[in-house]
Structures are given as C-alpha cells and as structure tokens.
C-alpha cells in the first residue's frame, strides 16, 4: 500500500491532513536515521565535527515531535477519526515518541564520541560498535519502511531482529568487562564505548516498538508484550 491509502474520505481536507502528518513523520524518520548513522560514524572515525553536528541537529527532531503531536491533536479534535484512521493517528503519536527517543540516543552517542576523542581513542570496542551499529541501523530503516508501506511481515521481521541485537549486546558487554579487567587504565574509555553500545541497544528496542505500532495500525491487533511467537501468529492470522 502506498501513501494514498488514506485517500477516499468524503472530506478531501481530511485526506490532506492525514497525508500531511504522514509526510512529516517520514521526514522526521529520515532525519533520525541520518542522525544514528552520523553518530556511529563519528564514534568510529573519532570525527568531532560530525559529532557536534549530530548534537546540534537533535533540536530539530524535538521540534518535529512537537509539531506532529500538535497536528495529531488537531485531527482528533476536528475529525474524531474512527477505525483505521483512529489507529493511524494513535500510531503516529506513539511513533514520534519512539523516534524522538532514538534521536536522544544518537545524541548520547555523539556526546560519547566527543569525550572519547578528547581522551584519545579507546583501545577496544570498535568492532562491536560497528557490528551492532550496522544491525540496528538496518532495523531502524526497515521499521520506517514498514510504517510507510504498512508492511506487517516486515514489521514482524524487525521485532525478531531486536532479539538478535539483544544477544549481541550481551556478548559485547562481556567482552568490554574483560577489557576493563585486563587493563584498568582503559576503564573510562571502555565505559564510553559501553554507553554507546547501550544507546544502540535502546535504538533497537525503539525500532521494535515502531514495528509493533505498524502491526496495530494495519491489523488492529495490539502485539505489545506478547512475545515473538504469539506476535507471529497474530500476523499470520490475517
């Protein structure tokens, strides 16, 4: 399904309002995706200038969050949407919250990148950041994709990916602890890497949340806290 699955209301302006808010959400998603990519790159390349740009740009994400929520409040007040229109607006409101948090996590990673480059590069942990970073970036991009295309199969895949990221995060943490025990002088710097890994793991959680909002929006099934197996059953039922 494309963006025009919201057309066809008797009120053309209602269509326009829904399309506009969807457009804004897509814009916000694009910026957030870029921020995450930039934050990872800034960490890996010790690029302070890039990290500072990420920190600065977080404000524009916050502004978009407020603007989209306001649009949604107006739609609720004006149109009293029902059924899938209602689910669409609710999902948008929840998704903006997740996107804004992802923006915050990118901001945290960029801050770590700045402090790391001030203290000299961390001796370890870049492999883990690169690996989990790639995984999480792909999840985020798929989560945004399934929102735009209303693709529940892809949404289910994103949720399943989150499990894999959690496992990778666990083993990365164990590796970091080993480094700290081996070389206590590196603790501060390895901690910075750990905070960044933590941020990436959280981004994966938010991507999964977005995927769950998509399943609710498309099917009307609330799959939060269900577990992957039951979630897959719900998706397959339709």
């Amino acid at each position: 399904m494309s963006i025009d699955n919201f057309t066809g209301h008797i009120s053309q302006r209602f269509d326009d309002e829904l399309d506009a808010v969807k457009g804004r959400l897509t814009e916000m998603g694009g910026i957030v995706e870029q921020q995450v990519g930039d934050a990872i790159a800034a960490l890996l390349n010790a690029d302070v200038a890039l990290a500072e740009r990420v920190v600065k740009k977080d404000k524009s994400i916050n502004k978009l969050e407020v603007a989209i929520d306001e649009d949604c409040a107006l739609i609720l007040a004006r149109r009293q949407p029902a059924a899938r229109d209602l689910r669409f607006v609710l999902s948008i409101i929840k998704t903006t919250t997740d996107l804004e948090r992802i923006g915050d996590e990118a901001d945290k990673m960029a801050t770590q990148a700045i402090s790391l480059s001030e203290e000299g590069k961390a001796p370890h942990g870049y492999v883990e950041i690169r690996h989990i970073g790639q995984h999480v970036s792909r999840m985020l991009s798929e989560a945004l994709d399934c929102f735009v295309r209303q693709d529940v199969e892809l949404a289910l895949k994103v949720a399943q990916e989150d499990k894999a990221v959690d496992v990778e995060y666990g083993s990365a943490l164990r590796a970091m602890m080993t480094y700290m025990m081996e070389d206590p002088r590196s603790i501060t710097r390895v901690m910075s890497i750990m905070w960044s890994l933590r941020a990436l793991e959280r981004i994966g959680d938010h991507a999964r949340n977005i995927a769950e909002h998509v399943i609710y929006m498309v099917q009307g099934d609330d799959v939060r806290h269900l577990g992957l197996k039951k979630m897959a059953e719900k998706v397959k039922q339709r």
């Binding site: 066809g8 008797i10 029902a82 059924a83 209602l86 009307g220």
Partner: protein
C-alpha cells in the same frame, strides 16, 4: 390498527414522523458482499429475536433477510447511510410499519419468544411493551402532566389519582425532567424547550412500563447540551429497559451503545461490540462508513 380513532398514539406518531423516504441511491462497493452478516447475531437469552425479516414498500424491497437478536438491558445502535433501512427495521420491532400503507413485513419478530406479528397480537399493548421515541419531539397538545398520564390512563395502569400522580412523578424523574417541571405540571408540554420536550416524550414512553424502548434519532433535532442529557439518560435507562437506537451520529452510537449494527442498502452488513466496531471493524463497508469514506 392504523385507525387513528382506535389508536390515538399511532395517529400522533404518524403525523410527527412521516413515512421514511428512500433517500439518495447509494453506489454499491464493487467487492461488497452483503448477503451474509459479519459478526455474531445471536445472544443468549435474547429479549427480541428477529429472523429472516424482509420488508417491502409495495414492490420495492427495503429490508433483505435480516437476522438479529437484541439482548436484555443492552443498548444496541443501528447505523448506516440514509435509505439503508435502519429506521424501517426499527419500526418493524413494534409494528409501527402497520401504519404505512403498502408496507409488508415477512419473517419473524419475537419478543420474549412470542411472535409480535401473530394474528392474535393486539398492537396497542404491544406498543406499550415496545415504546418508541421519535426524531422530532412530539408532545401532545396537552399539559405536561397529561402527556405523561395519557398512556397509563388508556392502558388502565393507574387505579387511583394517587397512583397516577406517582407514575407521572417517577416517569419524569427517570427521564431527568422532574426538577425542571415539577412546579408547572399544568402547563402545556409544547411550551418546553426542544430537549425538555424530548425528555417529556421519553417520560411518556416509560410511563407505561415498557420492556423495550425504540429511539429513532432521538437527538438529531437537539443542541449538544440537550443531546448530552439524553445520552446520559439512555445510560441510566439501560438498567431497566432494553434500548434500540437509530442514529446518524456515529460518535453517539460509539458513546451510548453496547453493540452496533451496521445497515447498508437494506442488508445488515455487520454487527458486533461497539468498542470493536469503532476501532477495528471487520467489513470494508462498515469501515468505509464510520471513517467517512463513502462517495
């Protein structure tokens, strides 16, 4: 039974509520299957039970094979575009269609298991059992007191004037009107505001202790405050009565009803819990209607 001398209630209602018009023709959705109702039509221990109901106005069929149960003490809302048959169906439930010439109803309409279209059924007590409130408030040109006392008098429900006073007071209280009119019961009912008149009509309906109350767009002539009062009243009445309400306001259906039935072109397309219908309906036509997508 449409003889106005025999049945003055019917005569009043006939004047106030003309024969429903067919409305604008609605274009059929190409992939719409109307013949089978989506959702659960049966309920346990139903108050009313309708099976294979067809309604014809002359040659024109207005209702097609509708099957539906109405549960005890539930509020069921009937929604759908103009001309979908929801009012026609509602009027079958107390044989109000008898008052329309050329109108033929087939199938069965059971109230507590008894067929209300049976030949031995007298419609005057039936309409006391299954009362009706109309779109436009239609108080009799009588005093407020007499409006409410009228039904109990003709049905012989009051044995003394004290009895009658009590019925009038209780009915007005249940209709939420008592405190507003208790000092002017002798004034004409037509002198009240629109919302008060509608609550007076509800008081008149409940004065004869009905089991079921049918409401045909009871709020469409009222302002939002009067509407809110009626909705509040419906909420209170549901503990005593079974209520079927036809409404054009989907928000109203969503607010007041337990179950919602969606009619389209004379078919019952979908019926289900109101909460489900308004968040996640199963039939595409229902979804298109409640989201405002009909062209």
């Amino acid at each position: 039974m449409s003889n106005p001398i025999k049945n003055p209630l019917a005569a009043e209602q006939l004047v106030a509520d003309p024969v429903p018009s067919a409305g604008e023709p609605i274009s059929m959705h190409p992939d719409a299957d109307l013949s089978k109702t989506v959702g659960k039509i049966e309920v346990k221990n139903a108050k009313m039970s309708m099976r294979s109901v067809d309604v014809f106005y002359g040659d024109k069929q207005a209702i097609f094979d509708v099957n539906l149960d109405i549960a005890r003490n539930e509020v069921i809302a009937m929604i759908g575009p103009s001309g979908c048959g929801k009012s026609t169906f509602l009027r079958c439930l107390n044989r109000m269609n008898d008052t329309i010439e050329n109108c033929k109803v087939t199938g069965s309409v059971l109230l507590e298991g008894e067929d209300i279209y049976a030949t031995k059924q007298d419609v005057v007590p039936l309409r006391a059992q299954v009362g009706m409130v109309f779109q436009k408030p239609n108080p009799f040109p009588k005093s407020i007191y007499d409006n409410v006392a009228y039904g109990p008098r003709i049905h012989g429900l009051a044995h003394s004037n004290v009895d009658l006073d009590e019925i009038v007071e209780t009915s007005l209280q249940r209709a939420g009107l008592w405190s507003e009119v208790k000092d002017r019961l002798d004034q004409p009912g037509t002198g009240l505001s629109g919302g008060q008149q509608q609550r007076l009509c509800i008081a008149r309906t409940i004065a004869v202790s009905p089991e079921v109350i049918l409401m045909d767009e009871p709020c469409s002539a009222l302002d939002p405050i009067a509407t809110a009062k009626i909705e509040e009243l419906i909420d209170e009445l549901r503990s005593r009565f079974t209520i079927a309400i036809v409404t054009h306001s989907m928000q109203q259906a969503a607010r007041v009803s337990n179950r919602t039935a969606y009619f389209h072109l004379g078919y019952l397309v979908e019926v289900g819990k109101t909460d489900d219908i308004f968040t996640n309906p199963n039939h595409k036509l229902t979804e298109d209607y409640i989201t405002g997508r009909f062209g």
